[in-house]
């Protein structure tokens, strides 16, 4: 869309230029010939760009409508079921009166939070995310460092890069399904799955961070007569120490969200409570659970952001609590398919 917009801007500018060119025609004959040719070239390029933008829009539109048809998207359906959703909304947000004014009944949320010990469930989810991250770090370090072309010579580093690609190609939820024969449907299986996922994702981030290291300090360490492994650790890894910690904190945030979704397939923790209440159509209880999830994920993100800005050692803006809350639904949704 933005491509089309800029093309139209360019076109307008081109039209505006024309009268000015006509005025310069009063100059030398040969010079005006050159300008005419330049103008022709520019006009032709513009037309080709326009044509391309149109063609891309048509193809894009075609695929979009095909995709909608494929998923059976229908506005009629939304209208038909709207009353049902509306009544569910009433349950999601139970009403009470406060000083005579209608208000959301937080009391019924709190009642469920205490009744089902949702804070305990949230701690299980946090434990899954944290333990999974820590279990994944050694594998991520080994695969990530050996996957760098600067540590392992060219064709061989692809053994490790390839391993990480395969791990990443399989979503964490699917890893949990794969591990079911190992530990049943349990938080333990979910933690193993998160650990595996971390090796692929964090390892890849480590490899990318290593591409950024400078040659100078590596040569400096090499020239002291240090051996190969010492050169890798002191010359290379010491340069990426800070980014490694920052990436690990970032993966911890993602893993906490994945741990929530693990519950949806029966992996335990807070996500499991959400799944149970959904199947019982207890929408008020569902919303109470969602609130706890919200607090859990935002807290982990807040801590992670603080740690990251602290180790960077500079007082940067950082994410405000407000921004964390506004962007929460988007990140939550992303973690389900990542």
């Amino acid at each position: 869309m933005s491509g089309g917009g800029s093309a139209s801007d360019g076109g307008a500018r081109g039209d505006g230029d024309r009268p000015r060119d006509a005025r310069t025609d009063g100059g030398t004959q040969s010079k005006s010939g050159t300008l005419d040719r330049a103008l022709q070239d520019i006009t032709l390029t513009k037309r080709i760009k326009w044509g391309m933008a149109f063609l891309i829009s048509v193809v894009f539109g075609f695929f979009f409508f095909e995709a909608l048809a494929e998923v059976g998207f229908s506005v009629a359906e939304i209208l038909y079921y709207w009353p049902e959703f509306q009544s569910a909304l009433g349950d999601f947000f139970p009403r009470t009166t406060l000083f005579g004014l209608p208000f959301v009944d937080f009391g019924s949320y709190w009642q469920f939070i205490q009744e089902r010990d949702l804070l305990g469930a949230a701690i299980v989810t946090l434990a899954m995310g944290f333990a999974g991250t820590v279990l994944g770090i050694p594998g991520a370090l080994i695969l990530g460092v050996l996957g760098s072309e600067r540590v392992t010579p060219y064709p061989f580093n692809f053994i490790f890069r390839g391993t990480m690609s395969v791990i990443r190609a399989i979503p964490a939820l699917v890893w949990a399904l794969i591990y079911i024969p190992l530990g049943g449907v349990s938080p333990f299986t979910a933690t193993l799955a998160i650990g595996t996922d971390t090796m692929g994702n964090l390892g890849r981030l480590f490899t990318d961070a290593l591409e950024e290291v400078e040659d100078g300090p590596i040569e400096a360490i090499e020239s002291t007569g240090a051996n190969r492994r010492q050169t890798v650790v002191f010359g290379m890894l010491s340069q990426v120490f800070t980014p490694f910690i920052a990436w690990t904190m970032y993966i911890l945030e993602i893993n906490t969200r994945i741990a929530v979704t693990m519950g949806l397939i029966g992996g335990g923790g807070i996500g499991y409570v959400l799944q149970t209440q959904r199947s019982l159509f207890k929408y008020t209880n569902m919303m109470a659970t969602i609130l706890v999830i919200f607090v859990l994920v935002v807290s982990v993100e807040f801590v992670s952001q603080r740690v990251r800005s602290y180790i960077r050692g500079e007082e940067e803006e950082g994410l405000t609590v407000l921004k964390l809350i506004i962007e929460f639904p988007q990140r939550m949704a992303r973690s389900i398919w990542e």
Binding site: I221, S223, T224, G225
Partner: protein, 251 residues
């Protein structure tokens, strides 16, 4: 102390000869300065001496032993100092001792008592003992370069190489850093070869001078032989020619 013997050293990068049949000998304990304009081959020569670059042909012997790769008795100071910003001045100085520390011990920072003292002594030599635990990232350019010198000293070398050690420093820091290099070399009886492009600094600090131009050794002598004519031969006319042609002079 070390004797450097360079015989018919040539290094080609594709068609370009960065070093062309260079031969010289530096005796034990000499403080030699390598002159030449940018691109004359100074860095290439130092990198060959250090074993970071393999020569195309010719031979380098240090104390009779041929150079095949980086070795612990040859230390190098780099123009961009290349210290590890993450570590303290002390931690950086200790990386000079990596060659005599096992991988595991270096990983957990379990250095021998003598190496710890050696690192502190080196920091004292370059006047940074009070800033030993400061992170090098937060230090000035001159201080970082002094940390680089301390690292080279902890290595316990016989030969100290310095590749434009003061080129990215302001004139006052350049004087200070060159002073520290000379003091360190004198205290520890090191043979030194430092490349410089500032002729005034070179004259102030050097005893022995080598000069490269387009990869060839064009001068080899002592201070009294380094006349204005010689300096003109190394730099002068080329610079004026460059200015005449309107090309940029890199110096």
């Amino acid at each position: 102390m070390s004797t450097i013997e360079v015989r018919n050293l040539t290094k080609a990068f594709g068609d370009v000869r960065a070093l062309d049949d260079v031969s010289f000998t530096i005796e034990d304990g000499e403080f030699a300065v390598l002159l030449g304009q940018s691109g004359a081959g100074k860095s290439t020569l130092l990198r060959c001496l250090n074993g970071l670059t393999k020569p195309t042909s010719g031979e380098i012997r240090i104390d009779g032993e041929p150079v095949n790769g980086p070795r612990d008795d040859v230390a190098m100071i780099f123009q961009q100092h290349y210290v590890l910003g993450q570590l303290s001045a002390y931690g950086n100085a200790l990386t000079g001792a990596l060659n005599r520390t096992s991988f595991f011990r270096s990983l957990v920072g379990w250095h021998s008592e003598s190496d710890k003292y050696e690192a502190l002594r080196a920091l004292e030599t370059v006047g940074l003992l009070d800033q030993a635990s400061q992170r090098t990232r937060s230090m000035s350019g001159g201080q970082q370069q002094r940390v680089g010198i301390a690292r080279a000293l902890v290595q316990g070398p016989n030969l100290l190489l310095a590749d434009e050690p003061v080129a990215s420093l302001d004139p006052a820091s350049a004087e200070t850093v060159m002073g520290y290099i000379r003091t360190a070399a004198a205290e520890r009886d090191l043979s030194t070869l430092a490349s410089l492009h500032q002729v005034n600094l070179a004259r102030e600090f050097g005893e022995r001078f080598l000069a490269l131009r387009d990869g060839k050794l064009v001068f080899d002598g002592y201070r009294e032989d380094l006349t204005v004519d010689v300096i003109d031969r190394i730099y002068g006319d080329v610079q004026t020619a460059d200015i005449r042609e309107g090309t940029e002079v890199s110096a």
